[in-house]
Amino acid sequence: MPAIAAVELRGVHRTFGSVRAVDGIDLRLELGEIAALLGPNGAGKTTTIDMILGLGAPDAGSVRVLGMHPRDAISRGLVAAVLQTGGLLKDITVRETVRLTASLYGEAQPVDEVLERAGILAIANRLVGACSGGEQQRLRFALALLPDPALMALDEPTAGMDVEGRRDFWTAIRHDAERGRTVLFATHYLEEADAYADRIILLREGRIVADGTAAEVRSLSAGRSVRANLAGADQANLSKLPGVRSVELRGDRVLIQTTDSDAVARYLLTATAARDVEVVTQNLEDAFLALTGDDPAPDPAVTPAGRVG
């Protein structure tokens, strides 16, 4: 019997009017993974998370969470979420909000412990309406900690938090993931996906265009760039080297995008007068732009084997 998946999406489609928000997603998250859904606005991140939480049903395909229907997983307190759209009552205190929510679960963590871990114990008696955006976001996080969920879904979780809040938040998330909690977060902060996710799922126009570790996703956007100082460089000649995708001249500086940086560097150093040769790995942002840009979506076959389908 195969191990139970934290999340399993099969052939999921979801359309709003004429917009295909999610256009055929297959995804399996293993228990204990920290995965980031990365993509530009309108890529389908929020719609995907909503379906995993049972807030919207797919038009086609199936969604299973911990082997059950999303709403069943929620009613057993196995899934919790921090959503941007989740509103809070302004006329009750931070502690009352946590107490109220705790009373809705069959089994909940102690209120003060949760307040402490979310870093809002000191403001527990403040009215929610008097809290800053960052404090309210911490409160939503506290609410999500209450059921000690097996899966935590986060939609832009650190929006509105300051640098310190963001750091505390991720420390808490990592700590829980080490104990086996699965975390799925949607973000458009590339650094956040790079720094905290074991796995990055890149979405574009409702489809998965890349899926793998940060390093794997990075490598998908065609390798590296080689830069050197070379007066009077022969652009046509350089373009003929194996693996070269583009050659750009900026005065005496030449920038070459290539999938075979070794060959380019060897050529520059042995056959030309090039100096100050640098080989630079593409960063995640380059990969992000290459994979989510305006050009036609890349063939899904380039995604790392075993992840898709």
Binding site: I4, L31, L53, L55, G56, L66, G67, I74, S75, R76, G77, L78, A80, A81, L83, T85, G86, G87, L88, L89, K90, D91, I92, E96, R99, L100, T101, A102, S103, L104, Y105, G106, E107, R140, L143, A144, D148, P149, A150, D176, R179, G180, R181
Partner: protein, 259 residues
Amino acid sequence: MNVERLDDRAAPPLGGFNLTFLAIEIRRLVRNRRTLLITIVVPVILFELFRVNRRLAAASSSEFGPAFTMVGIAVYGSMLAASAGGARVAIERALGWSRQLRLTPLRPVAYIAIKLVTAMLLGLVSVIVVFALGANGGVDLPIGTWLAIGLLAWLTSLVFAALGLFLGYLLPSENALQAIGPLVGVLSLVGGLFVPLSFMPDVVQQIAPFTPTYGVVEIARFPLVGGSFDVLWLVNVVGWTAAFGVLAALLFRRDTRRT
């Protein structure tokens, strides 16, 4: 989180309906000046109005004295408070709180039950305030009649708690609360709450039995007026409660599908 224990996790009893939730909801009502105003001050003003204006009082009191007016005001207060209580869902929808609650095991029916109970508690407060004013203003009834009228005036406010919920899901945010005042006012006039229907034009007398106020006020006055109990009153109350309840449920479903 121990994954081996997935099946041990249970959903909460009663779909999440519990006393902590209810207590916090009641505290919210007490903190809200606007609800207190509607529940207490409006019936007091009405009571004074009828006391000061002799012609109005003479017309409305009929053969049963000031008690007749008092029951009308009690039902009115109960209606207003209960419908305002129900309409509070509009504000919670606008805030996104309803959506936040959908991330918890709380069942929609338990949420609606909590809202109905708190709305009817507001109605009860209003009835008690009006009765205190009545007792102070010379209404003299046997204790059994007090209790019967009070209980009926309060229980029938369920119709208006359902109306409030319906409006709360129909209209955006504050608009729901603003619509309630005039609506309840018109309904109570046409339903014969303050002035006996026999004093009204024929058209009104013909429409009255079909309004949601009619059954409520006739039933509440029954212990005072006596005579024969008309089953149509009960049909009126049950029918309108069911109608508003079903409409609220349909709108609730539309609401959750969209989000």
